[in-house]
């Protein structure tokens, strides 16, 4: 890096005592060695700023696929198999009929789950129990969804989603509370809670909530009004004024949020905008405008032209929900005092206590938010994907455990998580055609995933392979867990 550094007098301004241990070279030396002239800052173009955090995951991915290729080559004994396998993977994930939309379908729960994991990580908590919270969210949503068939979607959908979120939140808050109160480590307790969740849902599906009329062991089908609409079905739905109102409300609220954020991001001393800053009515006007336009024009537009014409497409509105969730998590963690507290607790609990932040409350809150996101993942699977629109006995998945890898690959950053969830969705979806095409077992995918995770978790391996220099700035990633003592 040329971030380096001398004052105009040609002497290093900030010298480093540079760690006391020799092995500290990457972490400690990097930490205290820093840099320079204010001018350097502008020198680093936005492209480089964007590229540098992407370089490591990209190299990790490339390396993982390379090693995956070698494994396929060795086990099959032929190079063509490698090409067949990877071309099958790509075609399965993107090109074949509904390949791309199915990839997105698989991406949706990954996004919610990985966001949940990342919220935990940011608060210094390793929520390894998202799989269990996923199940509790799913069963809660399934229960609320089939309670009544009389409610309109504008009430029933939010209610069912909220039920899933609350179920997951409570399930995760329990180990959070145990940690805050007794110091019991959340890794142990969330794993335990996973097993309780699995067996509890099995019991609920098999007895109290069992659909007595169905041959398979499953819960009752949820009300059509509680379903998450497929994008194909949305066209019809929009013709119902109440359903159109729901869409208008969601879009209006999103508009309010975006305009509000856009206005806040302006600096205070930009004279022209301070006018806007003081008007809190502007986001409301924007929201009303968007809501009205979408309420009256979207149904017309849908009748005239609709891009999602595949009646068998399973892609559903959860896609938009997941993007919105990523946005809300970003806002919560980086734009609010709540997130500031949680990140402080995660980065340095000692400093958090010193600053008067209540650690216990933040641990419970972070776990609850984390669990709520995982619960929503279960919800969208039940309400939007499950063929019976119910919770069958053998449901999912492994989604939960893979999402931990996704959160790591995405560096706990919502945007990164969207990208890496998409990648994992593509791998999951492309695996079948890969197997069909080349005879290579689809479990090779899990090897590749494991390699990606390995390289992301241990970047020094990648750096060694590509002869890269350790980063000049300290590697300031979220502290994943803080030892077992709590």
């Amino acid at each position: 890096m040329s971030s380096a550094v001398s004052t105009p007098h040609g002497r290093p301004r900030r010298r480093s005592q540079a760690g006391r241990s020799p092995s500290g070279a990457t972490t400690k030396a990097g930490g205290s060695a820093q840099a320079g002239r204010p001018g350097d800052r502008q020198g680093a173009s936005w492209l480089r700023r964007l590229a540098s955090p992407l370089a490591m995951p990209a190299l990790a991915l490339a390396t993982a696929f390379l090693i995956g290729a070698v494994i396929i080559w060795i086990t099959s004994g032929s190079l063509t198999t490698v090409f067949e396998a990877y071309s099958g993977l790509v075609r399965g994930a993107f090109i074949k009929q509904r390949g791309f939309s199915e990839t997105l379908v698989a991406t949706i729960p990954y996004v919610f789950l990985a966001l949940g994991v990342s919220v935990g990580f940011k608060a210094g908590l390793f929520n390894i129990g998202v799989e269990g919270q996923f199940y509790i969210g799913a069963i809660s949503a399934a229960w609320v969804g089939q309670l009544t068939h009389g409610l309109p979607a504008i009430i029933h959908v939010p209610l069912a989603v909220a039920a899933g979120a609350v179920g997951g939140a409570i399930w995760a808050a329990i180990p959070g509370y145990l940690k805050a109160r007794t110091g019991a480590h959340e890794v142990i307790n969330t794993i335990m809670m996973n097993y309780i969740a699995f067996r509890l849902t099995e019991y609920l599906i098999s007895w109290p909530l069992k659909d007595k009329l169905a041959t398979a062991v499953q819960t009752q089908r949820v009300s059509p009004n509680a379903e998450l609409w497929t994008l194909y079905g949305m066209r019809e739905r929009l013709q119902n004024p109440l359903d159109a109102l729901l869409v208008a409300l969601v879009l209006g609220l999103s508009a309010w949020f975006l305009v509000h954020l856009w206005m806040r991001r302006r600096t205070s001393d930009e004279a022209g905008l301070s006018f806007f800053r003081r008007r809190s009515s502007i986001p409301w006007i924007a929201a009303l405008a968007v809501a009205l336009v979408s309420f009256f024009l979207l149904p017309l537009l849908a009748r005239a032209w609709w891009p999602f014409g595949d009646p068998y497409g399973r892609l559903h509105v959860g896609l938009f929900m997941s993007v919105m969730a990523a946005f809300v998590v970003w806002w919560l963690l980086w734009q609010t005092t709540i997130g500031f507290e949680m990140r402080t607790v995660g980065a340095n609990p000692g400093a958090a206590r010193y600053a008067g932040v209540r650690i216990s409350r933040n641990i419970v809150l972070a776990m609850a938010i984390s669990g709520a996101l995982a619960g929503i993942a279960g919800t969208v699977e039940v309400l939007g994907v499950s063929i019976c629109r119910c919770l069958p006995l053998f449901f999912s998945s492994g989604y939960g455990f893979e999402s931990i890898a996704i959160a790591l690959l995405g560096k706990n950053n919502p945007l990164g998580i969207l990208a890496s969830a998409f990648l994992f969705g593509a791998l999951r979806n492309g695996a079948d055609l890969m197997e069909l095409n080349s005879g290579v077992s689809k479990y090779v995918i899990t090897i590749i995933q494991a390699l990606v995770l390995l390289f992301v978790a241990a970047p020094s391996i990648v750096r060694w392979v590509y002869r890269m220099k350790p980063p000049a700035g300290a590697e300031q990633e979220a502290p994943l867990t803080r030892g077992w003592g709590g």
Binding site: M1, S3, A4, V5, S6, R11, P12, R13, R14, R15, S16, Q17, A18, R20, S21, P22, A29, G30, G31, S32, A33, Q34, A35, G36, R37, P38, D40, R41, R264, R265, R266, T267, S268, D269, Q335, T336, T337, I338, F340, E341, R343, T344, A347, N348, G350, A351, A352, R353, Y354, A355, G356, V357, R358, K469, P470, A472, G473, A474, Q476, P479
Partner: protein, 536 residues
């Protein structure tokens, strides 16, 4: 005769930093060579190179005129170079003998099987340790457990450890940082006796008083370069300070007489437990008044940390009361205490003072992020935070590339300035500063002292806790000496002398004159306390 150790043209680069820039350093046989410099001047880097921990990018090291290459500390030890680190490398539950043998065990009954399994021979080692201890007047008991030894004795164990490995050259890295003035003087006697018997010592410090007390030659480093070497006889404190900092430094804090007002803080028979549930603060009663600096002197680990934590709500008070401006804050939460007007410069800036991974902008609002103007409802107002950060960076002269720079990448002095700036940016009724300048360079110390006196002059009460007697004496208006959790005496700063305070810090009160006879006894006494110091 060739010098015993000679380093020529040593250069070491770290990413973004030239830590050593063609440094030359010579150590003659039988001399104590003090190496002086601010933090970050490159002293530790140079010593780590001489001890084989770092590989220099350029330059040559000669021992007894022969060029050597060090690929690790074991090489350095083979060449007779030993180092006593600032943080001791001892295993507390093992005995002195076991610690010293560690890595160089003497064995009996070595077998062929199991990779040369053998039995430790503690007796031979213990005998050698006793010999060495006597030869140099180190007074180390070979069979004592490290965890039972006070800090001063642990340090002597470290010295014996180096001698046991036949070190001719000893590098002592800030050895006096954890000692009372009396203990430091004892160490100097030991150092003298070692050089008399042919050893050579490199003595790293940033305390000017000590180099005059013990050094034969003084070298000063600044900004990675060797500024020069002088004899103590030719040097003055002002000259050395000038060499260290590169500009004139006011060593004495000049302040007008205090104008004490109303009591701000009152402690009544405060009792606080430490982490191991021992009584750390044992019935302390104190009063700090507006417009005065109350210094709390004492060797580290005599309950000062717990006292401050109790005052700031970070530690439970067992008994007694804390009254802040007449309000009872004994069991208040940290935030309530902060909002009552208490500013706290914590002892450990990494553990409590800063979130190292956060940009300094966020660290500036660590205690006020939830209040207007930094928060609007639950949303953070980043432009306001940035304005405040820019203002404080300018006001406190924090050297940083930008306010977005993470706190962890600043130097120690600048990190401390961030904390002091943050704490003094609020309206402050009581400033609690615990070791506010530990490990800082002269320039930063001067600056932070100035700010503390300013806070006093603006009418804040200041509680200054420090193990540095110089700091206590130059800043305080009244001085309370803390020993084993009690306040032994509270003195007027005008009348207190270094010797008087030093004895009190060692637990010697005038009512027990018999203990003054053997100062070593007194120095070794703070057993419990010193142990904690070692854990830091």
């Amino acid at each position: 005769m060739a010098p015993v150790l000679q380093a020529t043209g040593i250069t070491k680069r770290f990413p973004g930093v030239l830590a050593n820039d063609h440094v030359n350093f010579t150590l003659e046989r039988g001399e104590i060579h003090a190496l002086l410099g601010e933090n970050g001047a490159g002293k530790s880097t140079l010593m780590n190179i001489l001890y084989g921990l770092y590989d220099p990018d350029e330059g040559e090291i000669q021992v007894d005129g022969k060029a050597i290459r060090l690929s690790g500390p074991h090489d350095a030890i083979d060449h007779g170079i030993g180092m006593v680190h600032q943080h001791f490398m001892l295993v507390p539950p093992l005995t002195v003998t076991e610690n010293i043998m560690l890595g160089q065990e003497s064995l009996v009954g070595r077998t062929r099987a199991l990779g040369g399994l053998a039995v430790l021979d503690r007796r031979v080692a213990a005998a050698r340790i006793q010999d060495l201890s006597q030869q140099y007047g180190l007074q180390v008991d070979a069979n004592a457990y490290i965890k039972d030894l006070p800090v001063g004795a642990q340090q002597r164990v470290e010295i014996v450890k180096a001698l046991y490995r036949q070190a001719d050259i000893l590098i002592l890295d800030e050895p006096t940082a954890v000692l009372t003035p009396q203990e430091a003087d004892e160490l100097f006697v030991i150092m003298r006796s070692m050089v008399k018997q042919g050893k050579s010592i490199i003595f790293i410090t940033h305390k000017l008083r000590e180099v005059f007390a013990v050094a034969d030659r003084i070298s000063v480093m600044r900004a990675g370069q060797m500024v020069g070497s002088v004899k103590p006889a030719e040097a003055t404190r002002e000259l050395l300070a000038l060499m260290m900092v590169g500009r004139k430094v006011i060593l004495q804090v000049d302040k007008v007489a205090a104008n004490p007002g109303e009591p701000v803080l009152r402690l009544e028979d405060l009792c606080v437990l430490d982490d191991r549930r021992h009584m750390a603060v044992d019935g302390v009663s104190l009063e700090a008044r507006a417009g005065e600096i109350l210094g709390i002197a004492g060797v580290q680990g005599n309950g000062q940390t717990e006292l401050v934590e109790a005052l700031t709500g970070l530690r439970k008070v067992e008994e007694g009361r804390v009254l802040l401006l007449g309000e009872d804050t004994t069991h208040a939460r940290p935030r309530e205490i902060i909002e009552a007007g208490v500013a706290h410069v914590p002892e450990d800036r990494h553990k409590h003072g800063l979130v190292l991974s956060f940009p300094i902008r966020d660290n500036f609002v660590l205690c006020t992020y939830y209040r207007s103007p930094f928060a609007d409802g639950i949303e953070l107002d980043y432009p306001q935070m940035a304005d405040e950060a820019e203002r404080l960076v300018r006001l406190f002269d924090v050297r940083t590339p930008s306010i977005e720079t993470s706190a962890g990448s600043l130097s120690g002095g600048n990190q401390q300035k961030v904390i002091v700036a943050r704490e003094l940016s609020r309206s402050v009724k009581l400033l609690i500063a615990n070791q506010p300048t530990r490990g800082l360079d002269v320039g930063s110390i001067e600056f932070i002292h100035r700010r503390i006196v300013d806070a006093r002059d603006k009418g804040s009460a200041v509680l200054l806790v420090s193990a540095e007697l110089d700091e206590i004496m130059s800043l305080s208006d009244r001085i309370a000496v803390m020993y084993k959790g009690r306040i032994l005496a509270t003195l007027d700063a005008q009348e207190a002398t270094r010797e008087q305070l030093g004895l009190l810090m060692a637990g010697v009160t005038s009512s027990e004159p018999e203990r003054v006879v053997d100062p070593r006894q007194g120095a070794e006494d703070p057993r419990k306390g010193s142990e904690e110091g070692a854990h830091v």
